[in-house]
């Protein structure tokens, strides 16, 4: 049996992780619009209607969706190809390539950001929607790659041999045997990549021109609060939008987790 002290401190840390998120939800209903006063003097749902009417919020959400969709698409292709190459093969430079894939997310975002910025600057490429997508796709590849590699390593190699023995060529085997097995892992990877891109702010500030993605909108409000009630509502919307893909991705891949039993 765990000691009482251990149990209490474990649950205290869980509370520490979640109380701030719960507070965000509470504040979205606060009737107070001038300060962050706690506890909220009264509760109201009017700010949801106010936020709904805001064109700038909708534009930011739309832009973030487009960026995330394109980045996820690129990451899906590159991540799957890399996983197919690296899952079972052993060759010189294999570790170097997996390090290269991890690097954009392992190094602080500011380094990836400023590196891309100086790269674009040197080549005199103007900042646009596509420079944001290039930045996001670069750090999203590893998420798809990790999910796909974990699943490919669990894939029974006999299935592939059986398919070949029965006369299927390589492409048919990929289409009818490997991809169906890989499907849910790829979906999970895509969902996580989407969530990662949808929420990214640091690399975005370095690779965006005048575009305002949802996180950039949020950052502007954090530094100079102008629309506290609207910001509170947007924060709740972001929590809801990112929780869904994360939970679905978890359910799709929990059998691939090393700690799963």
């Amino acid at each position: 049996m765990p000691s009482r002290w251990l149990r209490i401190s474990a649950w205290a840390v869980v509370l520490f992780l979640h109380i701030p998120l719960a507070l965000i939800v509470l504040y979205a209903f606060s009737a107070e619009d001038k300060s962050y006063v706690f506890p909220p003097p009264a509760l109201t749902t009017q700010w949801f209607a106010v936020a709904w009417e805001r064109e700038d919020v909708w534009d930011a959400i739309k832009l973030s969706f487009q960026v995330a969709a394109w980045s996820t698409a690129v990451a899906l292709v590159l991540g799957t190809l890399a996983a197919a190459a690296l899952a079972r093969a052993t060759f010189f430079g294999r570790d170097v390539i997996s390090l290269l894939l991890i690097l954009p997310i392992a190094l602080p975002g500011i380094i990836t950001g400023i590196a891309l910025r100086s790269g674009f600057h040197t080549l005199e490429i103007p900042f646009s929607f596509w420079t944001i997508v290039i930045g996001h796709a670069t750090f999203c590849v590893v998420v798809v790659f990790n999910n796909a590699v974990a699943r490919l390593r669990r894939l029974n190699p006999n299935l592939i041999e059986a398919s070949m023995d029965l006369g299927a060529d390589g492409f048919q085997t990929v289409r009818y045997i490997i991809l169906p097995q890989l499907g849910s892992a790829l979906l999970a990877g895509a969902l996580l990549a989407f969530a990662l891109s949808f929420d990214e702010v640091i690399v975005t500030t370095f690779t965006a021109g005048q575009q305002t993605t949802l996180p950039i909108w949020m950052l502007q409000e954090l530094i100079r609060p102008r629309q506290r009630p609207v910001t509170n509502v947007v924060a709740v919307v972001i929590i809801a939008l990112t929780f869904v893909p994360i939970l679905v991705a978890y359910l799709l891949t929990r059998a691939d987790e090393p700690g799963h039993r």
Partner: protein, 309 residues
């Protein structure tokens, strides 16, 4: 096998790729290598090259001549000071994350079972993946002068304690959201999940028989913890600390939103490239965290941190 069966183009290509493994590998890796080699490594190279260029003060243009003026500027006291402050913060955050993460990770690895374990896992993973800015915003609400923490302090009649902490030089300030203490709390909160998961993985790998043996040989709980669990969990701590350390070193948004006006490495890099348009100096300064992280990774590798990732 029907050797003389009519062979379509797709079959011939498929056979070619099957027999020539190198070709298959090249076809699979080509796009990835192209993307990462050209865009990512190219950018990192541009960053490195820029660090040796300089900005012409009169024209505001980047002069593409190799020189060391940026690195001389790095040694100015103000810059050294912010580098030192950032590194101290990163170490403090890493230590605090370890202390907070350990009980939860241990509980998850050794005591939680079934649905409870899954729930705890999700409880750690959701904040890890959910919005960085929203969580930062939550702390702006919590730490504000009229916010929840001040309210709690009043309810508990502990306002004097809060005031005493805020009056402490170096960590205090006019309110929690404008103090180094506030910056520290938010950093710890943000990176804590990155520490919990690797420690949990490391503790899970300790065989129960090892702990039983320690108890059989007469060790107290505390002794077992110190001489058996802690050393065996160290690779997990080292793996988690790579995240907490490197994320703190590079962050420029948290200290900008929560904290006093002192600058961290990330903020200087951000300002130099943005407001000042001095990409060469920003590039040179961003090499500081890269070098520090490189040294840290080298030390962590020697401790076996990568086996626990």
């Amino acid at each position: 096998m029907h050797v003389d069966a009519p062979q379509g183009l797709s079959r011939r290509l498929s056979d070619l790729l099957y027999t020539r493994r190198g070709l298959l590998l090249l076809a699979l890796l080509g796009p990835v290598l192209l993307w990462f080699g050209v865009i990512y490594l190219g950018s990192l190279f541009a960053l490195l090259a820029n660090a040796f260029f300089r900005l012409d003060d009169f024209t505001g243009q980047v002069v593409r001549e190799v020189g060391f003026s940026n690195f001389v500027a790095l040694l100015e006291p103000a810059n050294l000071d912010s580098a030192r402050r950032t590194i101290v913060m990163a170490i403090a955050v890493t230590l605090a994350c370890t202390v907070l993460a350990f009980p939860l990770a241990y509980y998850m690895a050794r005591h939680a079972r079934g649905a409870q374990k899954a729930a705890l896992y999700i409880a750690v993973m959701l904040p890890l993946w959910s919005s960085y800015l929203v969580r930062l915003y939550a702390w702006k609400l919590l730490l504000a002068k009229e916010g929840a923490i001040s309210w709690l302090a009043q309810q508990l009649h502990a306002q004097w304690l809060l005031d005493a902490l805020l009056a402490t030089p170096a960590i205090g300030g006019p309110s929690l959201s404008f103090s180094t203490m506030g910056t520290f709390i938010v950093f710890v909160y943000m990176w804590l999940p990155f520490m919990v998961l690797p420690i949990m993985a490391a503790v899970e790998r300790i065989p129960a028989s090892t702990l039983e043996a320690s108890a059989d040989l007469g060790a107290h709980t505390a002794q077992t913890f110190r001489s058996v669990i802690l050393p065996l969990a160290m690779p997990g701590v080292a793996a988690g600390s790579i995240f907490t350390f490197s994320l703190t070193l590079g962050d420029y948004i948290i200290p900008q939103v929560i904290g006093d006006s002192t600058l961290y490495i990330g903020q200087i890099v951000y300002r130099q490239q943005g407001v000042a348009g001095n990409i060469p100096f920003a590039a040179a300064f961003s090499l500081v965290p890269i070098v520090v992280i490189g040294v840290y990774l080298w030390l962590a590798k020697r401790k076996g941190a990568f086996d626990a990732l």
